[in-house]
Structures are given as structure tokens and as C-alpha cells.
């Protein structure tokens, strides 16, 4: 029997390949489960995906509960909802914690499961921890008490100017979704062993109300931004869509590079929203992040501040980005970018000659 006391992760796969967010969530779940003295269970849903169970175990799962059913071939809210509910019913006791990704799947599915279970759900977390909590509020005597070893779901709040620790110790599972690219996946361990269990699900007509006709997905587009080694981003300071030619040109200097954009640049229609870094975009931490004409407002900063090296070019010496970048150039980006490009190439060539 699977262990219902394990921290649970709802795995995401697309057409038979595991998504990076799932490996990140397993990393986070391991951290939590070690503090709780339990293990990690993954729920794996799809059709002809049983072989993926091993990959989940190699990345840190102790148990994998698989629902392999033709109805789950393509993601649809109601069929996946039924499958997750069936697994939870199969477990009998609710797991203490259920984690999902802040993806178009996780953000679609998690709230429905939480509402079905009448339990709490914290969205878009950037940190998780385990700790204690004492509730003293008078408005709700039923909630008063001291709670040990509960989930701290930590997320930015109110336009990203605050961080909030959200807790819901009164009912299990404590649910949360985590942003892409924030939690750390564990290194693959091909010798790791774990248990795999299958659960079958009875779908009813109500579960089949939405017909998925087609899913088109270019994985490279979505993976690139969070997986990129180098991101060169453009902001409102570019002055117009043509400015992204300069951004692309500088990005072309690097291996594994991707073009990013600030929200204002995306909102202005200068770049597609899949390139957006920050609050409503992606959270990234590349080896190098170059910001061209980006002021560094808090909603952008939280999406990229963990980059290993941040270089900013902006003509406004007072731009907030110069407070948290590693290096800054105050000046016209249209002059600086081509100079920087040539200087970087020269620098790399000199190094390779040595």
C-alpha cells in the first residue's frame, strides 16, 4: 500500500515526456519530507506513460502512483480532476501536503481539487518550508491553537512588493503550486529504487464534457526561457518593437541564449508573452542576464534577481536595476549593445588563444 503520509507531487508530462517543473517539485517535496520524516509520492497521470515512473524515482520520488488511461492522453481539467480525486480516495488518508506546478495545467487543476476537498491552496510559491504556527485570532475561535510541522507556503504578494507566508494547518492536504524555475531539482540517481502502484479510475459522462481536439506545443519555446544559460532582455527603454533586433543581435553572441522581455515591452506588443520575465511571466536564473532598457521594477526583479550575473544598460542612472545588478552601464543601449557584442567576442577569442 502507498504511504498516505508522504508529501505528494502531481507530476506533469506532455506526450510522454516529464516536465522540468515536476523534477523541481520533487526536489522541494524531498526537502519538506525530510523535515517531516516521511517520503515523497508522485501522482503520474496520462496514457502509456508508465515508463516515466522510473524517472520520477531517479529524481527523488519514493513512490509513484500511476493512472494510465486512454481518457488521460491529452490534459483536460475534468478527467485529470477525476484521476487525482480517485488517487486521494484510494489513499484513504489525505497526504499532509500536495504540490503542483504553476503551469497552465497546475493553475487549472489545483484550484478545482482544493475546492472539491474544501481545503486551502496557495498559488505561485517561491519557497516552501516546514515550521510551527500559533493562531491567536479571536475572530475565529475554531482556528485557535498551536500547530506543529505545518507547510509554510511562501509567495510574493500585492504587486510583488511583499512576501507572504501562507498557512493552512486546519485541514489536509495543505496544497500549493510552485513557480517554474524556482525550486531546485535533485541530480539524477539512476540507482534509486522506489515503489510503483497503479490505480484505475472510472470516468463518468460528466468528466468528458470538454473535448480536446488538438494540443500544439513547441516545447523549445517554453523550456528555453527557464532553461537558458544566457538571457538578453529588452524593456520599455527600447522605445519600440524594432529595438528587439538589437536585443536578438546581442543574444546571438552567446551559446544557449534566449531573448527575454519586460512586462511593459510585452504589454506594448513588442514581444510575445512567452518571452516575459517577471510577475506574470517566467522566473529565471540564468548564468548571465543582460537587461537592456529595463528599469528593474519589483515585478521584473522577482523574476530574474537570482540570475548569477546581471548586467544592466540603461540611460537613467537612477533606475532601480542599478541597485541589484552586478554591473551597470549608464548610457544609450543602442550604442552600448553593439560595442558590448564585439567586446565579448574579442574577449572570448583572446581567452581561447591562451
Amino acid at each position: 500500500m502507498p504511504n498516505p503520509n508522504n508529501v505528494a507531487v502531481v507530476a506533469e508530462q506532455f506526450h510522454g515526456s516529464l516536465q522540468q517543473i515536476t523534477l523541481e517539485l520533487i526536489g522541494a517535496a524531498r526537502f519538506l519530507s525530510e523535515k517531516l520524516g516521511t517520503g515523497v509520492s508522485c501522482f503520474l497521470l496520462g496514457h502509456e506513460i508508465s515508463k516515466l515512473a522510473e524517472g520520477l524515482i531517479h529524481h527523488g520520488a519514493d513512490e509513484v502512483i500511476v493512472v494510465d488511461d486512454p481518457q488521460l492522453k491529452e490534459y483536460a481539467t475534468l478527467t485529470y480532476r477525476r484521476a487525482v480525486i480517485s488517487i486521494l480516495e484510494h489513499l484513504g488518508t489525505s497526504p499532509p501536503i500536495v504540490l503542483m506546478g504553476s503551469t497552465t495545467i497546475g493553475r487549472d487543476l489545483a484550484p478545482r481539487i482544493a475546492a472539491y476537498l474544501e481545503t486551502g491552496l496557495t498559488a505561485d510559491c517561491t519557497e516552501f518550508d516546514i515550521g510551527d504556527y500559533e493562531h491567536k485570532g479571536k475572530a475565529d475561535p475554531s482556528k485557535t491553537g498551536t500547530f506543529k510541522n505545518i507547510l509554510y507556503a511562501i509567495r510574493p504578494s500585492f504587486g510583488e512588493s511583499l512576501k507572504a507566508r501562507i498557512i493552512g494547518p486546519w485541514k489536509n492536504p495543505q496544497m500549493a503550486t510552485a513557480r517554474i524555475g524556482v525550486m531546485q531539482a535533485l541530480p539524477l540517481d539512476a540507482l534509486r529504487k522506489g515503489a510503483v502502484q497503479r490505480v484505475s479510475v472510472n470516468f463518468n459522462q460528466e468528466d468528458l464534457r470538454v473535448k480536446v481536439l488538438k494540443t500544439v506545443r513547441d516545447i523549445s519555446v517554453s523550456v528555453n526561457l527557464t532553461g537558458a544559460k544566457v538571457i538578453v532582455s529588452g524593456g520599455y527603454g527600447l522605445g519600440g518593437p524594432d529595438g528587439f533586433e538589437v536585443v536578438k543581435d546581442l543574444a546571438s553572441v552567446f551559446k544557449h541564449s534566449v531573448v527575454g522581455a519586460s512586462r511593459r515591452a510585452v504589454d506594448s506588443g513588442w514581444m510575445g508573452d512567452s518571452h516575459q520575465v517577471g510577475q506574470t511571466g517566467k522566473t529565471v536564473r540564468p548564468d548571465i542576464y543582460i537587461a537592456l532598457g529595463i528599469s528593474g521594477a519589483i515585478q521584473h526583479r522577482v523574476g530574474m534577481a537570482n540570475s548569477k550575473l546581471i548586467i544592466a544598460v540603461n540611460k537613467d542612472a537612477d533606475a532601480p536595476i542599478f541597485k541589484f545588478a552586478h554591473y551597470g552601464i549608464v548610457g544609450d543601449l543602442y550604442q552600448a549593445a553593439p560595442l558590448l557584442k564585439n567586446a565579448l567576442i574579442k574577449m572570448a577569442r583572446e581567452k581561447s588563444l591562451r
Binding site: T103, L121, P156, S157, K214, I329, A348
Partner: protein, 269 residues
Amino acid sequence: MPDTGSKAGVNPDGTIDRARAKRMLNPFDRYALQKAIEIKRNAGAEVTCVTMGPPPAVEVLIEAFEHGSDYGVLLTDKRLAASDTLATAYALHKVVHYLGNFDIILTGLQTTDGDTAQVGPQIAERLDLPQITYCEQLSISGRTLSLRRIVEGGNQELEVHLPVLITVANSATPLDYKRFADVAAVKELLRHPEEKDRRIKIVSLDTIGADPSRIGIVGSPTVVGKTWKIGEVGGSCIVFKGESIEREVDELIDRLRADGRSVEELINA
């Protein structure tokens, strides 16, 4: 929702002081409203906007009239304070029950304050409706809807029968709903109290028959344990300025050479 651009307060319990914050239509909801107006024009419909908040939130409904909405409902009740998403969805689904007939519920993808994207799907769960989130395109033929929703790096094409709940992606179509706005007509209309009463309903938890133990702090399974400001980092940025741009770039490159980050390895030389 409160205007996140204004200086809004945070209550001692970590929730947002919505009474003190200036109100505005949640920017994400404008896309939902635009979609509703588009459906009204293409397929014929009446559009009712529902909001929840303190009494001045009625301004949001009037803003929606200016953009083509027909009716407005404000759920206002002190007991709603500190409701989390689950409790909010409970309250709003009771409003929908109270109003009765509908074919489509449209919501914005998320708010810009809480940013959770949870309330739409949670209303759908409570109403036992199919849902389409991140919807960027839809067309209606009889009782059948064809939709396209965004997924990472692509999209899904879907089909569903009414009734349905849809959360509208803001990448869908640029906002142009103001084209249909008629601010003067709305002002004129609101000068007549009986017409205003006909168009705007203000309801409490009692009106809609909501269970007070399922809303507010009592009905919310989550609370804010603690908040803290995102720390001001930095001060350590090395800024090159006040020289020719050539010189500044050279100085940057010297630094990169010296600081041992192996930047060179990432360059196509």
C-alpha cells in the same frame, strides 16, 4: 480589487486593506469584459457584471456599464473581509445561484493583487461546470463553443457545450472595448434613480442565502501567517557612468575578465 498602483495599506493580519485602497476594475478582468461584449455583439446576450467588495466598489460596475455591460451586481458584506480564494469562490457562486440563468461565466485570468488565478476554477467546481482557463479565442455555434486555450509554448483546441466557465487570457486580443463605450449615456442613465436601481443590484450574504461560516476568516482554510517587505538588495552594483560609452564597455569587459565567472565559455567565438 484595490488599485495596486495606489498606495494601498496592509492590515495587521497581513490581508490587504481593501477599504482604504482606491478601487478599479482588475486589469485582467477587462479582457473578460471585452470577451463578454464581443459575445453580446456576435451572438446576442445580456451581460451582467458581478463584483464583491466594500460599497464604493459599485464604481467598478459603473465602469463596466461604460464598456457595454447591461447589469451589475455588488456583493457587499462586512463578514466577507479576509476571505481567501476558497471563501471568495463560495460567496460568488452563491451570487450566481441567486441570479439564476446564465450560459457563460467569464472571469479574468487572475487579479493583479492576489495573482492566484484560483477563483474562476473554484467557482466552476462549486457550480459543477466545465471550465476553460487561459482562453484566448472562442466562437459560438448554437449551444456549442469552440475554444483555444494557451498552454506553455502552444495551445489547445477544445469543444464544450454550454453552460461553461471561461477565464480569459490577456494575450487574447488587444483591449479595444473602450470603442463601444458610451460614457455620456451611462451618466445620463444613472441620473435616474429608478433606472440605476434596475441596472444595479446591491446584495448581502443574507440576500443570496450564503452561509456566514463559509466566508470571511472563519470560512477560509488559509491565513497569512506573516508578511515581510521584499528586502532592498544591492548597493553592490558596479556602475560605469560619466564616460564615453566605449570606455564604459571596456571597463565592464576588464571586470568580467578579472572576476573569474568564465563568461567566455558561454560565448560563440
